[in-house]
């Protein structure tokens, strides 16, 4: 047995794992090899020292301190659960939540940045209307009206209980209303005006306090604004008195085509043809001639003009009002093309077959 093998068996000898024959060879080698013998003595001494090292006593107060530590941890755990539970969520949960929150924040910021300037513009608006009375559409939809209303706008005197009733008649010159049948006009006007209602009303109030007083809506709520808008819209319609002519005819088709031609001749426009009724707008100046020509189509040679009393009264009032309060301004308007449109009258021609 060589030195290396003998030294590898030191532990086996210490553990008493060597067989008697192995132990015999092992001891013979040690007695013949001083180096291995010295190594073995050192090994044996190390092992004796190791095994002589007794156990160290546990310091006093170990258990009470442990209980105290556990109590402290128990108290700390609920606090962690309350405040720090988030930190224990896995990243796969936390990340999507955080990303979602970021998106919400971005949209919130975008929304706020869009809405805040609009509110600012609204606040500035009254100052602008007082300084320069011009028709101007603000970014927020606020519409200010000048003291001289545009031809397409309602004269401020228009609204009134009777004017509202007159609104049933269509308005010539208002492109958006041209094709609409009479009963539908009002509803359509309301619908189309809806987005700009509130802002338009602000304009009305800012400029014309008289009108606001008549409407008796000092601070319009949503419902009141709607009602007031309807009044103002109807007042526009009422400013143009409707004419109704009844034609007694024998050939309906022929007369309708003739009426169409006649309207065109007089520079008017056929708005709608429905059954026995033709709705047309004709320049006011040539209305008499138009009426005469129309009477020629009648089989009896006469055209019956029917204007309801209400309509007549309403229109008279409106005309007076327009003359009395807006006379100067209207005269200015007459030069514009829109003013020509204003001077048209609407004619409802009823065809009665004999």
């Amino acid at each position: 047995m060589d030195c290396e093998k003998v030294r590898d068996r030191f532990s086996s000898w210490w553990e008493k794992e060597l067989s008697p024959s192995e132990e015999k060879v092992f001891k013979e080698h040690l007695s013949s090899c001083p180096k291995c013998k010295r190594e073995f003595e050192q090994f044996e001494k190390t092992m004796r020292w190791l095994h002589s090292a007794g156990e160290v006593e546990v310091p006093e107060g170990f258990l009470p301190k442990l209980h105290k530590e556990l109590e402290e941890r128990k108290r700390a755990v609920p606090e962690e659960k309350r405040g720090g539970k988030w930190f224990y969520f896995p990243i796969s949960i936390k990340l999507p939540i955080q990303a979602g929150a970021m998106v919400v924040v971005v949209f919130l910021v975008l929304y706020l940045t869009k809405t805040i300037p609009m509110e600012g513009a609204r606040l500035k608006e009254p100052k602008q209307t007082s300084s320069s009375l011009s028709v101007q559409e603000k970014p927020g939809g606020a519409l200010t009206r000048s003291a001289a209303p545009s031809p397409l706008e309602t004269p401020p005197e228009a609204p009134g209980p009777k004017g509202v009733e007159q609104a049933k008649a269509p308005v010539p010159g208002e492109g958006r209303l041209e094709e609409a049948p009479v009963p539908q006009i009002e509803a359509e006007v309301k619908k189309r005006e809806a987005p700009a209602r509130s802002t338009e009303m602000l304009g009305y109030q800012a400029v014309d306090s008289k009108e606001a007083a008549r409407a008796s809506v000092p601070s319009p709520g949503p419902a009141k604004i709607e009602g007031e808008l309807a009044v103002s819209e109807k007042s526009r319609v009422a400013s143009k008195p409707p004419q109704e002519i009844v034609l007694r005819i024998s050939d309906r088709k022929k007369v309708i085509s003739l009426v169409h031609e006649l309207v065109k001749q007089f520079g008017g426009e056929v708005m709608t043809t429905k059954g026995d009724m033709v709705l047309a707008s004709v320049p006011m100046g040539s209305f008499r001639e138009f009426k005469k020509e129309l009477a020629g189509f009648s089989s009896s040679g006469k055209a019956d003009r029917l204007i309801t009393k209400k309509h007549a009264k309403g229109s008279l009032r409106l005309q007076e009002g327009a003359k009395g309060e807006e006379g100067d301004e209207k005269s200015k308007e007459s030069t514009s093309p829109a003013a020509d449109m204003e001077r048209r009258t609407i004619v409802r021609i009823l065809l009665v077959e004999e």
Partner: protein, 197 residues
């Protein structure tokens, strides 16, 4: 070498798993010496060992519910202890905790620093009888070894673990444990020789 610890009954472990603090206290009383001694031999410092043993038992209380086989409680407890020791050792090493405590370091005296001279206790009958000195020497020798070698020597030669227990704890086959243990003993012998000459 330590006296064998009494076996902890299965019911006590089960009660502890259910959160019974009395059962936990019983476990602590039965195993605190073993845990503290392993920690002390692995770290070489009584205060560190005490704190570590506290942490070990807190871990036991918090995670004993995850222990599936009550019969392997002792192997599991030793694993928990050794894991805490490894982590603590790393932490202390990073902070050069033991560097000034080495036997190779020069001893600071009033006349300046001189090399540390340690006489062989066996040469001096007075010192030889000083068990405390031998313990100190062994402890310093252990700290000079690799961590896994120290674990083997502590478990087998200081705590008296059987090879089977060591196998359960370290997850190594008996043959590997024996050969590694022998290498650790021989290395400790070298270290002690270096200290005493």
């Amino acid at each position: 070498m330590m006296t064998p610890s009494p076996k902890i009954q299965k019911e006590v472990i089960e009660n502890c798993k259910a959160g019974d603090e009395k059962a936990f206290t019983e476990i602590v009383l039965h195993r605190q010496k073993r845990v503290f001694n392993i920690a002390y031999r692995m770290l070489g410092n009584s205060e560190e060992a005490k704190d570590l043993a506290q942490e070990v038992f807190i871990s036991v209380f918090e995670s004993i519910k995850d222990l599936k086989e009550e019969i392997k409680f002792d192997a599991w407890l030793t694993q928990v202890t050794l894991n805490h020791c490894r982590n603590r050792w790393k932490y202390l090493k990073r902070r050069q905790y033991f560097s000034s405590d080495s036997l190779d370091d020069p001893v600071e005296t009033e006349d300046g620093s001189v090399p540390r001279a340690i006489t062989d206790p066996s040469d001096n009958p007075e010192i030889l009888l000083e068990k405390k000195m031998i313990q100190q020497l062994i402890q310093r020798g252990l700290l000079e070894l690799k961590e896994d070698q120290r674990e083997l020597l502590v478990l087998r030669d200081l705590q008296g673990f059987s090879y089977e227990e060591m196998g359960d704890t370290l997850g190594l086959p008996e043959g590997t444990i024996k050969s590694k243990l022998h290498r650790a003993r021989m290395d400790l012998k070298e270290v002690l020789e270096r200290f005493t000459h």
